[in-house]
């Protein structure tokens, strides 16, 4: 930069400076933008193109046939529909109740938005959320909560996500609260609780496969003692699903635990000490001081886990290959299986469907919590 010596040169300098100022941020950002483009946007666009086409190997290489939305049609209305949605039947009474509650809440939220005269965009957003959520709830009610119905990969995936994250959060929080106290051997426990997270998911899959082997595994004597030698969890849809969920919870609770532990230990000491002086019970301290303090971290934590959990594949793949029948098959596992059989277009279509689903849930989650967390 030239030093300014005379007032005459001021305007020129100013112009030069402002030009530099205008270009500089863009120039500094450009490499990062390019990296993002190459690393994430370009594959996204390519896989979108793949999901609209069908690949074939012909003389001289690859023949890509554009089939527009045919892969999606197959998934949503065609031959793969049953895989995705399962068997739809009349919901059980519980199913109807659940559906009724969700429908009521969603319609109420849309009605409230209209009454409060919110901007049109917000109303449309809520209406879309209401339609999708009611649809998904109907799907759950008509497949999972129906005596004749059978959940497809979509519902099974959502089941793993919902049950898995809830239990992981609760167990992780419990362990974190325990380890935040002045216990003897705290350090040891912290390390032990973290171990499952360090193991590669495939390793965890095999670990649980051996553990769950009721014929030769370490739990076999226990199994026999319980008179269960003729029962195999792997033949039973719920038995197999629970086995997968146990493995998933074991693997991911440590992640919740470590972050929550950091949050609990990072909260301010004064309010807690003041509360103790005032004679507040442990529950009161947790409810009114600790919980609000760790809430922002919790919401982010759950969001990260949710995005990750939708992609579960290792455990069902190794434990049951998605069996018995279709009981434990997730969206990603199904996509992987057909990808291996060269239905690359169909596989990409499932991946995109998953992208929409995760985006929908993540957006809904963030919007729902945005107001509440800040006022908590």
């Amino acid at each position: 930069m030239a030093t300014i010596t005379s007032s005459a040169s001021l305007p020129a300098t100013r112009v030069r400076a402002s030009l530099g100022e205008r270009i500089a941020p863009a120039a500094f950002l450009l490499p990062a933008v390019l990296v993002v483009l190459f690393v994430s946007i370009f594959p996204l666009i390519l896989s979108l193109f793949l999901s609209l086409s069908r690949l074939r190997f012909e003389a001289g290489g690859l023949q890509v046939q554009f089939v527009a939305l045919d892969n999606y049609r197959k998934l949503l209305f065609g031959s793969e529909q049953k895989v995705l949605f399962g068997t739809i039947a009349t919901p059980s009474p519980i199913g109807w109740v659940v559906l009724g509650i969700v429908a009521f809440l969603m319609l109420a939220s849309v009605y409230r938005a209209i009454r409060e005269a919110q901007p049109g965009r917000a109303i449309v957003g809520r209406a879309i959320a209401a339609i999708v959520l009611i649809g998904l709830t109907y799907l759950i009610a008509a497949s999972l909560l129906s005596p004749e119905g059978r959940p497809g990969t979509l519902v099974v995936t959502m089941l793993y996500v919902a049950v898995g994250i809830t239990l992981q959060y609760l167990i992780g929080l419990g362990l974190a609260l325990l380890c935040a106290q002045q216990l003897p051997g705290r350090r040891f426990f912290r390390v032990v609780f973290l171990l499952p997270m360090m193991i590669t998911p495939v390793g965890v899959g095999y670990l649980f496969r051996m553990l769950a082997d009721t014929n030769k595994g370490p739990l076999e004597p226990l199994w026999v003692a319980l008179g269960m030698q003729d029962f195999a969890w792997s033949n039973n849809a719920w038995g197999a699903r629970i086995a997968v969920m146990i493995g998933d919870i074991w693997q991911w609770t440590p992640f919740m635990f470590i972050v929550l532990l950091a949050a609990i230990e990072g909260q301010e000491v004064e309010p807690v000490e003041a509360a103790i002086v005032d004679g507040a019970s442990n529950w009161d301290i947790f409810r009114h001081i600790t919980l609000p303090a760790i809430l922002p971290v919790s919401t982010t934590l759950i969001l990260i886990r949710m995005i990750e959990a939708f992609k579960i594949i290792d455990l069902p793949n190794i434990l049951t290959n998605g069996g018995p029948g279709t009981a434990t098959e997730t969206l990603t596992l199904y996509a992987y299986r057909i990808w291996r059989a060269l239905d690359i277009g169909g596989s990409a279509a499932i991946a995109y469907l998953l992208l929409f689903l995760v985006t929908f849930f993540a957006t809904l989650y963030v919007r729902t919590l945005r107001g509440r967390v800040s006022t908590a």
Partner: protein, 511 residues
């Protein structure tokens, strides 16, 4: 053929053995004698400086002998042999991607002949016919006719060098049969009766574990679709190999929605009652483990059980009998879709009125050469495949359980010495080889599906429908309809006439 056990362990194939219930492949009783290098007819170090990249699945089966023989080959010729391994589930796709994108990282592929259609049609594989004819050491005529005609040949030209003989058989426990006064099963009804009788006896092994009537690998996305085809073939194909067991030769309609396949499904499901409680979650690795633990009276498997049963620690040693896949006295009338009694016209190959259709599931690991490789590399690659295939090497390798290689040469059946040396009793060797020979000599052998995208037809559609059926999610009619619809849809996508032409080409017998 041990690979298939890992078809199930889709995501990776490395720690497989540890994870599988199969006992870790023990070393053979005596280390294999290093084969006498073939009399060098060429000057030594003929291929100095040449590197051959080969790919197969992460075994240890198949990959182990490839590496071991590769070292020997290097010492003899100076060529460097690199063996790359990938999990079985990814192999088909990986090779195809490599060829289709023009990457051409591999000169030799050791793969399932089932995939030939997908690799040959686009022109990726080298035609080996002339090389085979010009190579006296390979002793082509000694290779079983079936493998020469079908596994190695496509449209009358040779594209692969067989390294392994694959078809399914039924194994039974000779001691249990004797104890209960049962005959080895000739028909599938006999199989059911045998399994039932054992099951009702509630036998136990020496260490108090239950003995199951029948153990079949029924896990989803593993080998179940081969097993069900082994049962169904006897009901569907009766006119000889050229008739095919998958599609109608006129209309290319799948033969999977009729009384014959319905009967096969009934039998397949009934065997579950006499199996281990978690049978529908077992793959071949698990059932082989159960077999060597002495916990099964019957099983369907490739040739591997014969060699695994004589390994150290096996409780089924000298108690393992083998027979050709059971047959049926009733077969499909393709015009009506009905199950009808065998007549001499309908079942020309029937033995005592029973139609056997031994199933060459998978087809046996075979080596092929990339058409895009350099000429000198192709020469080295062919010499390497030929070396592994020659009797001096392969006659030893097929007697070792962990190689995953099963017999495919006539001399391997005729000569019991290597088998006895490997630890089989003479009776067991006769029994085992007899069953293989009977299957191989059958004019009604069923060739595995080799049309393009057979992975999708069998591994996704058929396998998925069978898994749902076994889990009780749907009945026989819905299962058959699902298979038929799924296959028809794929056929429509790929072009019916094209697929039919390839199907006929794969069945064309060249004598």
């Amino acid at each position: 053929m041990n690979l298939k056990k890992f078809a199930s362990l889709a995501a990776l194939g490395t720690i497989v053995l540890a994870a599988c219930a199969a006992p870790p492949a023990a070393a053979p009783a005596q280390p294999a004698q290093p084969a006498q290098p073939a009399q060098p007819t060429e000057p030594a170090k003929k291929f100095a400086g040449i590197t051959v990249n080969a790919i197969t699945f992460s075994g240890p089966q198949i990959a182990e002998p490839m590496q071991r023989r590769g070292k020997e080959f290097s010492e003899m010729t100076g060529a460097t042999i690199n063996v790359v391994t990938v999990p079985f589930a990814d192999l088909y796709q990986k090779i195809l991607n490599d060829f289709a994108t023009g990457t051409n990282s591999f000169d030799v592929i050791v793969f399932a002949p089932q995939w030939m259609g997908d690799y040959i049609e686009p022109g990726y594989l080298e035609d080996l016919t002339d090389r085979v004819k010009a190579d006296p050491d390979i002793q082509w005529e000694d290779i079983g006719l079936f493998f020469r005609d079908f596994s190695a040949t496509y449209n009358g030209r040779i594209y692969t060098i067989p390294l392994d003989g694959d078809f399914q058989m039924v194994y039974y426990r000779t001691d249990i049969a004797k104890e209960l006064g049962l005959q080895p099963p000739k028909t599938w009804d006999d199989y059911i009766a045998f399994a039932k009788a054992v099951s009702e006896k509630k036998l136990t092994t020496d260490d108090g574990k239950p003995v199951y009537g029948s153990c079949i690998a029924k896990k989803k996305a593993a080998q179940s679709y081969w097993m069900v085809t082994s049962v169904a073939s006897a009901f569907i194909q009766s006119q000889g190999t050229g008739q095919g067991a998958f599609f109608d030769l006129e209309t290319f309609k799948p033969l999977y929605n009729n009384e014959a396949f319905a009967r096969a499904l009934e039998i397949y499901k009934e065997t579950t009652q006499y199996g281990p409680p978690d049978e529908i979650n077992l793959d071949v690795g698990d059932t082989r483990g159960l077999w060597t633990a002495g916990q099964c009276a019957l099983t369907i498997d490739w040739g591997d059980i014969g060699t695994l049963a004589i390994e150290e620690g096996s409780k089924a040693k000298d108690k393992t009998g083998a027979v050709i896949l059971p047959g049926s006295k009733q077969v499909l009338d393709r015009k009506t879709g009905k199950l009808v009694d065998c007549t001499p016209e309908l079942c020309p190959h029937a033995i005592d009125g029973v139609n056997h259709a031994p199933f060459a599931a998978f087809g046996g690991w075979s080596g092929a050469i990339n058409k895009a490789s350099k000429p000198e590399v192709k020469d080295a690659a062919f010499a390497y495949l030929s070396y592994m295939n020659q009797p001096a090497q392969s006659n030893v390798d097929v007697t070792i359980g962990k190689t995953g290689f099963n017999p495919y040469r006539i001399s391997q059946f005729k000569n019991l010495d290597n088998w006895i040396k490997a630890g089989m009793s003479e009776q067991a060797a006769k029994d085992y080889l007899g069953a293989i020979e009977a299957s191989l000599n059958s004019p009604n052998m069923v060739l595995d599906l080799r049309i393009p995208q057979n992975q999708y037809y069998q591994g996704i559609v058929l396998d998925g429908a069978i898994a749902k059926f076994l889990a009780g999610e749907q009945d026989i009619a819905a299962t058959m309809k699902e298979i038929e619809d799924g296959w028809e849809q794929k056929t429509e996508e790929l072009g019916r006439d094209k697929q039919l032409a390839v199907y006929k080409a794969t069945l064309g017998v060249q004598k």
